[in-house]
C-alpha cells in the first residue's frame, strides 16, 4: 500500500522533473530555507528559555522574528516535499528520514502546546524570568530541531 503510493508519487510529472533535472537546485534551496528557519527560530527559543535578548519582552521577539521563521518553514516544506516525491520509493525505507518525520510530528505537538496553552499566560513571564513551562517548550524545540536537521543530513548518507 505504502510502497505503491510511493511509486505513484515518483511517477508524477513534478517528481520526474525534480529527480531528472533540478534535484541539486531544490536541495540547495532546502538548505537555505532550513538554515533561515532554524536560525531565526533559535533567536526566539533562546529568548524563550531566558538565555539571550533578556532586555526585550518575549512577545517583542516572538511577534517580529517568528513570521520570518514561518516564511522559511513554508519554503523548506515545499522544497522538502519536492525532494521526497522525487525519491519516494527509497525514502520510505530510509531510517534517518523516518526518524526525522517522527521528530517533526513531535516538534509540531510541542509548538501547538506552546501556542495554545503556555503562550496564553505570557503576560506573567513576558519580562524577566520565563515560566518553567515556557523554558521546557523552548529547550524541547531547540533539541527537536537539532535532531531533525541531523537526521535530514544523515538521510543523505543511507
Amino acid at each position: 500500500m505504502l510502497e505503491s503510493f510511493a511509486e505513484f508519487l515518483q511517477t508524477l510529472p513534478v517528481a520526474v522533473l525534480v529527480s531528472e533535472n533540478i534535484f541539486p537546485e531544490v536541495e540547495a534551496a532546502h538548505v537555505v530555507a532550513l538554515a533561515l528557519f532554524f536560525g531565526t527560530l533559535a533567536i526566539v527559543d533562546l529568548r524563550l528559555v531566558g538565555l539571550t535578548s533578556r532586555h526585550m519582552r518575549f512577545t517583542q521577539i516572538h511577534d517580529q522574528v517568528l513570521p520570518i521563521s514561518w516564511f522559511a518553514f513554508v519554503l523548506a516544506a515545499i522544497t522538502g516535499g519536492l525532494m521526497f516525491v522525487a525519491n519516494a520509493s527509497s525514502y520510505i525505507h530510509n531510517t534517518p528520514l523516518i526518524i526525522k518525520f517522527v521528530l517533526l510530528a513531535l516538534a509540531g505537538v510541542n509548538m501547538a502546546y506552546f501556542q495554545f496553552v503556555t503562550f496564553r499566560g505570557v503576560a506573567a513571564w513576558d519580562n524577566g524570568e520565563p515560566a518553567a513551562a515556557a523554558k521546557l517548550g523552548g529547550y524541547l524545540s531547540l533539541g527537536l530541531w537539532v535532531g531533525i536537521i541531523t537526521c535530514g543530513r544523515l538521510a543523505g548518507f543511507v
Binding site: 538548505v31 531565526t40 517580529q64 537539532v146 543530513r153 544523515l154 548518507f157
Partner: protein, 158 residues
C-alpha cells in the same frame, strides 16, 4: 598542478585516512557546519532586515547589530574548523572544486560587508542614509555561500 598534488598528499596523510574510515566524521561535521551556518545566516539577516526597515523594528539599529553580529565571529571559527576537517576527509572532492572557491570568495566578501554594517550601526545617527545595497548584498552573499557549499556535492572536481 599544485592543487592536485597537494590533495593527493593530504589524502594519504594518517589523519585523512583516519577520517576516511571513520563513518561519523563527515555527516557529523556537516551537521555541525549546517547548524552554525543557520545561526550566522539568521544573525546577518536580522541586521540586514533592520537596515531595510524590517524585522526587529522596535529595536535601534545599533542594538540589533550588537545583539547579533558579535556571535558571528565564534560561529565562523567553528565553521572554519568543521570545514577544514571536511577538506582533510575529502581533499579531492573539495580543493579541486570550483564551487568551493566560489564559496570562499563569497565568504570573504560577506565578512567584509558584515564588518562595514557593524561599523555603520555603531556610528550611525538619525538622518544617515541606510546602507541598503550592503544589506541586500549581505543576504545574497550568505545565501550564495550556502548554495555553493551544497553544490560541492554535485559539481565535478577539475
Amino acid at each position: 598542478m599544485f592543487i592536485v598534488e597537494f590533495s593527493d598528499w593530504l589524502a594519504n596523510t594518517a589523519i585523512s585516512q583516519y577520517f576516511q574510515v571513520t563513518p561519523w566524521v563527515i555527516p557529523g561535521m556537516q551537521t555541525i557546519h549546517i547548524l552554525c551556518l543557520a545561526l550566522v545566516l539568521a544573525g546577518a539577516v536580522m541586521v540586514d532586515l533592520r537596515v531595510l526597515g524590517r524585522g526587529l523594528k522596535s529595536e535601534s539599529m545599533a542594538a540589533v547589530a550588537e545583539r547579533f553580529l558579535p556571535s558571528i565571529t565564534p560561529l565562523v571559527l567553528v565553521l572554519l574548523f568543521t570545514g577544514i576537517i571536511l577538506i582533510i576527509a575529502e581533499p579531492g572532492r573539495t580543493l579541486g572544486n570550483p564551487a568551493f572557491y566560489v564559496k570562499m570568495v563569497c565568504l570573504v566578501l560577506a565578512l567584509i560587508i558584515t564588518a562595514r554594517l557593524r561599523r555603520y550601526a555603531a556610528t550611525a545617527t538619525t538622518g544617515d542614509r541606510a546602507p541598503v545595497l550592503l544589506a541586500l548584498l549581505s543576504m545574497l552573499l550568505w545565501t550564495t555561500i550556502i548554495v555553493a557549499g551544497r553544490f560541492i556535492a554535485y559539481i565535478e572536481p577539475i
